[in-house]
Subunit: 240 residues, 2 copies
């Protein structure tokens, strides 16, 4: 937790802040905070800044002198379409891609996604929110990504994807041929990554029809988790 | 397991192969192999090819017609110096960086590495070997990386590192300033990544004295696991 995220509901009428739960645990157990200590804080979807601890107990804390005057780092203009990974990987990836600055994540079905994954508690809104916050707290960012889910492949690809990729290039990271070093050809990009085992040929053809390009991640077959990191680094690197 | 790795000891005098353990489980449970099936195989530190299943039971399998005629993918000419991460992360990273083609991994101590990490069973040779094999099996590669450990920072940096970086550039991925897009200036490269919290100033100065450059991974603070992936993708991408 490199920044303490503050929600609107944490602010009192007088502009001080009351914290509870996980953040107070962190203040006590990791930072060993005492009254008078200054903290790095950020308002969710707002500015970064600092605040001073005025009271702290095992269960709650109060902050005053909240100054929010810094911009969060610029968002990575990269959206991610991800065939729903298995839950434990999904959980890590939500926090990881958030820490990398991705602000739009689309979780979609694919033939090789096990249907049971869609029942996982990992997909509960509270857990998704928690993982995104872990990513922001790590990265010192404030802007929560948007996560959307499509439990059916075809409606997503036919009805949603065309609109999502009209303002920039879209790449499918797929084993086999493809460009190794992508070029920046628009203000934003879309990155599409399949399940373990890859999208089936029918699915790949649907992407081809929409003009999605192929991105090569090298001569080796990578796990989804590794592939997502490498692909985001490659395509995200274009916008630095 | 996208390839079955064969060790010298698996070969019989007549050139057939006897398998047991984890690989037989995979043949039974994932591939549902039967006699006559052809498998993708690779000889550890040797060639890739195929073989035919001749016998299979719950506990052992025999392969014949072993043809090893393909080269493994070229190694990534990138060595990695990693401040020893916490064990669970270390385990995942060994397999992940192996799957990316890294062939030399140096695990070193740093002030912010908890000393207890050096006692972890994750560092037992059998476990390291297992993680490296998981990475090779994923990536369809045969060449086992070399993993070396230095439980003391100063002797590593003073006695070993200078020789390791004399044939190419070395980059330290460190929060703050640094080049965002590295240039290829030699046939191989060295990438150095600190612990959670980063190398301490004394340690950073030792790298500076050796002419190690700073690599920026962007404006956000990343977890070690994320940082390793992104940095390997950035620097490794130079050799594609």
């Amino acid at each position: 937790m490199n920044v303490i995220l503050l929600d609107d509901r944490d602010f009192t009428d007088t502009g001080t802040v009351r914290l509870s739960g996980r953040r107070v645990q962190h203040l006590n157990q990791v930072l060993a905070c005492a009254p008078g200590d200054e903290l790095a804080v950020g308002r969710v979807n707002g500015k970064l800044g600092r605040a001073t601890v005025t009271k702290i107990s095992a269960r709650s804390a109060e902050l005053a002198d909240v100054v929010l005057d810094g911009d969060p780092p610029p968002p990575l203009p990269l959206s991610l379409v991800l065939a729903l990974p298995r839950p434990v990987v999904m959980n890590r990836l939500l926090a990881a891609v958030t820490s990398l600055g991705v602000k739009r994540i689309f979780l979609v079905h694919s033939r090789r996604v096990e249907k049971s994954y869609w029942q996982s508690p990992v997909l509960a809104p509270e857990n998704i929110d928690q993982q995104l916050r872990l990513g922001l707290e790590q990265a010192v960012d404030t802007v929560l990504p948007e996560v959307r889910m499509s439990k059916r492949f075809k409606p997503f690809v036919e009805d949603e994807l065309p609109g999502l990729i009209k303002n920039g290039p879209a790449w499918l990271a797929h084993p086999g041929d493809g460009v190794s070093v992508p070029e920046r050809t628009g203000p934003s990009a879309m990155l599409i990554i399949g399940p373990e085992g890859g999208f089936i040929p029918y699915e790949v053809e649907r992407f081809d029809e929409l003009g999605v390009s192929r991105l090569s991640l090298g001569p080796r077959i990578l796990r989804v988790e590794t592939a997502v990191h490498v692909a985001v680094a490659k395509v995200g690197g274009l916008f630095k």
